[in-house]
Symmetry: C2
Subunit: 325 residues, 2 copies
């Protein structure tokens, strides 16, 4: 049922996370369970659980029972936000399948998102206050990131710093919280907890930047979702920012005109993607992603090489920028 | 700012709940704060906080600091569900003002709902595991109630028992959880905790039944929202169930025809309301509400009369069925 494209030495634990999630979405309303299972079973990368468990193990954690619970909570919350995101963005497909709201209707999907939120918080709420605080903070930041992104719809003056702030809140902080709380549950020293938080935030930034590149260069069949979504929706992402900085003058004006349009045809979207690709912005953006990937690996410097999970975390960081889905 | 139509001896504590809520919805995204404040400041009855604090005091609780926190969490979660409900039901106004999604758009409203959820759970997650469990359970039940209600849209064969099960999950259990956890925080004996849970569930059933009556007989100006919503949306509620049981044969068929229609004109809605009113179903339904109100009061029997909050809880139960908004 789980379709994870990777294995970073925590396959067994991820299987247990999966069981924990499936057990938590039982419901005597068959439709609610069906929609929740539809979303959960569609796979997904399980990046947050992977990071939480790796950080726990790399920080010297032994019995993973608690971190498995927390990882399940993070993934449930993440799934909730994906359902709500798709409603908000009009996302038609996700992970190669029709998005939940398209298949089951907005009302049912919205409620199922709430249900998954609640189930995640029900599990997460059993952890010590610092972990509850951290989880609630990053979830609130995520909402702020969503609003921030929408505020800047079609804003071709969005700076690199503003973009990074949005993706930090939308993607990097939840991943950082996964790493950080994994270390906390392992009873790691404060310095290690902070290193893990750094790893997570930089891995998350790299991950989202690559996602934004794949939205331009990816193969929809491999990705399991259409490309060009950010352009279509008016989200200005790093490839566009880099193209606007470096693109040739004529093309630059045309790209701006398209990005600013409220309604875009598929021709507009394709044209904008071409301009971005031809400008060299894709290579520049991937190199930006690699810088964050290197920062992520650097934050592991105090983890002893004898701990095999350090190497797995490095492999994960490498994989994040090399992936094509 | 708070427009509470009632005072049941916990006015001071409700003021502190209000501060706690306002403090928790601070955000550096001005729009997110604005929408959250718009919903929170529109008033509302603060029924869940009132019940939590009353139950705490009636159970002998002294320092209300913790129950004030929990009451704020319950109200935040409740506000989140109201925003999402309005999106789902197309509710145009709420508490005399335009609903949040109408004023700010579905996307912003959906995210603000998530934000309030998270803020509520962030506070609620700091409580002992039994309270976290209880909160998560009733929130999940609420989602199940929503799905259950939608499943029975236009279902004129909905039984009284099925209706009660839906409103138990949608309204009564969250109120019961407020009462129950108030008693738990007071350190009350298990028997008192269960009595408070009973009070809450019966008060909640009475409250929702009266709400469903007011959707037929209420004055939109006093209610702050349109009437006829349940008929318009295809929600079969107790007044309709009672009318179908007791209404004259000719009218009964017409009522069924209207309730089953997927699209209804305003004439249809008005006609259905008239049939229900003329059938005597309103009186019958209010008498059903009173039975639950009496059960609520009965569950207070072991609270000593010397505790002044017992009388306040009885007054609240009386008020619930007498209110016109």
């Amino acid at each position: 049922m789980m379709d994870t494209p990777w294995d970073f030495g925590v396959h067994k634990e991820l299987g247990e996370v999966e069981s924990r999630i499936m057990e938590s979405i039982e419901s005597h309303e068959p439709l609610l369970h069906e929609i929740a299972a539809y979303v959960i079973e569609s796979g997904g990368k399980r990046l947050r659980p992977t990071v939480a468990i790796l950080a726990f193990k790399a920080s010297g954690g032994k019995d993973p029972a608690r971190v498995i619970d927390l990882a399940a909570a993070f993934e449930l919350i993440h799934s909730a936000t994906l359902i709500h995101d798709d409603i908000n963005d009009g996302g038609e497909s996700r992970r190669g399948r029709e998005s939940a709201y398209r298949k089951y209707g907005i009302q049912n999907a919205l409620v199922t998102g709430d249900f998954l939120y609640v189930k995640g918080f029900g599990i997460g709420g059993k952890f010590p206050p610092p972990i509850v605080d951290l989880t609630a903070e990053v979830c609130a930041a995520l909402a702020e990131g969503e609003i921030g992104q929408k505020k800047h719809e079609g804003d071709v003056d969005l700076t690199r710093e503003e973009y990074l702030d949005i993706i930090r809140r939308k993607t990097a902080l939840p991943i950082s919280a996964s790493a950080q709380s994994g270390a906390m549950l392992a009873g790691a020293a404060q310095s290690v907890v902070l290193d893990m938080a750094d790893y997570g935030v930089n891995l998350g930034l790299a991950f989202q930047i690559v996602d934004d590149v794949l939205d331009i260069t990816g193969d929809p069949k491999v990705l399991g979702k259409p490309v060009g979504t950010d352009i279509r929706e008016g989200n200005i992402t790093l490839p566009a920012i880099n193209a606007l900085e470096n693109g040739g003058a004529v093309n630059r004006e045309e790209l701006i005109r398209i990005l600013k349009r409220r309604r875009k045809t598929e021709d507009h979207v394709r044209k904008a993607m071409q301009i971005i690709e031809k400008s060299g912005a894709v290579e520049k953006t991937l190199s930006d992603a690699k810088s964050f990937m290197k920062l992520a690996k650097d934050s592991l410097r105090d983890i002893p090489h004898s701990n095999p999970y350090r190497a797995e975390m490095e492999r994960l960081a490498d994989f994040i920028v090399k992936r094509n889905r």
